[in-house]
Amino acid sequence: MSYQTSDFRNGLKVETEGSPYTIVYFQFVKPGKGTAFTRTKLKNLLTGAVIDRTYRSGEILEEADVEEQPMQFLYEQQGIYTFMNTETYDQVEIQGTVLADDAKFLIESLEVNVLFYKGRAVNVTLPNFIESKVAWTEPAVKGNTSNNITKNAKLECGAEIQVPIFVKEGELLKVDTRDGGSYVSRL
């Protein structure tokens, strides 16, 4: 499958310069006396870097060989994380380096999206929010319900986050994964 400039849409996955990209912006431009072009911003699906590229009308880009699969986290062993496709039950092992800092949010049966590029798992997208119990924190301070004063807490999934001072060990918390882990609420 290949795409002409007139096929460009936001979210289209294209292969260029040896990497898969998704189109995050496109704009038809044409000088009055000149030929038509499409200006684009492309986001690298491996690194997240955004590049500007301008294509002449009629230029062709190949579809990127990428596929996103819904998967469930099963277990980790010696830095290898095993996931299962929730539709086909196929299992895949992913190196911890692919997950990087996100590994700390993985709890058993967490549903994630795994991006495959040319058949290889290259990226794992966590849900925006996870739920995890507080494994350890300093004792709660009674009567203080302010969210502004915080303390350290270690969650059962492994993440360490800042929580309000009233949070107790054993409580179930809702945590935002998008900014490295931030307290949202008690559940």
Binding site: Q27, F28, G34, T54
Partner: protein, 284 residues
């Protein structure tokens, strides 16, 4: 082929922008009337749509919808009406986006006993009056040349020229700027002066708002340019547009003249700070 811009059911018309558009048009007409210009109505359905290597006309019935009223207006000039203008829908196929619509509105005017530089104060006056009519700040204009924009080294190759134009140059033309003296090979129907054409474009917000020139008055040279344009179109795999004998005959007859076409939709966008052309038009 570009697919038609998707029409979303319930696409709301914007009364504020439609009012501004009407006021801009009324202001342009009143300023032109005060300057002694006559409004004429060119045909929209024509046999020869343009002398353009890179514009696609929309075929219609046994001809085309015009891409500009230039050929008809030059016949009007030759008929002895030298100070005329038209406000008309024009059509360009394969152009669609936030800054392009397949159908858009053009005001094209002709000023006799004038060259392209004489268009600048006239058009600035039209735009300043239109801005005042809708109570927006008076624009301030500057001038530059194609050579200056390319740092003195204008690419000789068209692909290189236009690629650098859209990536490096037009995004920088945000304040109202007249760009003068295009390469001779982009002359269209303008007079040449050495290796440049006496042609100018007005840019605002990185968008071309107007294109004008000292009009070529040499039928034989114009016939040569029709042939050259047809060759370029064939080489690009496009069918050539028919030569327009009417404009060739007219070009030997009208007096020294400068003409300019202004994109009304983009003018309204620029004056109102609207980013998408669809918002200033009634969509089909």
């Amino acid at each position: 082929m570009h697919p038609r811009r998707a029409h979303v059911a319930g696409d709301a018309l914007n009364p504020r922008l439609l009012r501004a558009r009407g006021a801009v048009l009324a202001s342009l007409r009143s300023t032109l009337a005060a300057e002694g210009f006559l409004e004429v109505q060119p045909p929209v359905l024509v046999q020869s749509p343009a002398l353009e290597a890179n514009i696609e006309a929309l075929p219609c019935a046994d001809g085309f919808l015009h891409t500009s009223p230039e050929f008809a207006l030059k016949r009007v000039l030759a008929a002895g009406l030298p100070r005329v203008y038209a406000t008309t829908p024009v059509f360009r196929n394969e152009e669609s986006g936030r800054h392009h619509a397949r159908e858009f509105t053009m005001l094209e005017l002709y000023l006799h006993n004038a060259n392209y530089l004489d268009l600048i104060p006239l058009v600035e006056g039209l735009i300043v009056s239109a801005a005042s009519a809708i109570s927006v700040a008076t624009p301030v204009f500057s001038r530059t040349t194609v050579a200056a924009l390319f740092g003195g080294d204008v690419p000789g190759d068209d692909d290189d020229f236009f690629r650098r134009w859209v990536t490096e140059i037009d995004p920088t033309l945000t304040a109202p700027t007249w760009v003068l003296d295009f390469p001779a090979r982009h002359a269209a129907l303008s007079e040449l002066r050495g290796n440049v054409s006496e042609r100018l474009e007005l840019y605002v917000g990185g968008l071309e708002l107007a294109n004008g020139y000292s009009e070529l008055r040499d039928g034989a040279e114009l016939r040569r340019r029709f042939a050259e344009s047809a060759r370029a179109r064939r080489a690009a795999g496009r069918s050539p547009h028919p030569t327009d004998e009417g404009v060739i005959a007219a070009s030997d007859q009208f007096p020294r003249t400068a003409g300019i076409a202004i994109g009304i939709d983009r003018l309204v966008m620029a004056l109102t700070g609207t980013p998408d052309i669809a918002e200033v038009r009634i969509g089909s």
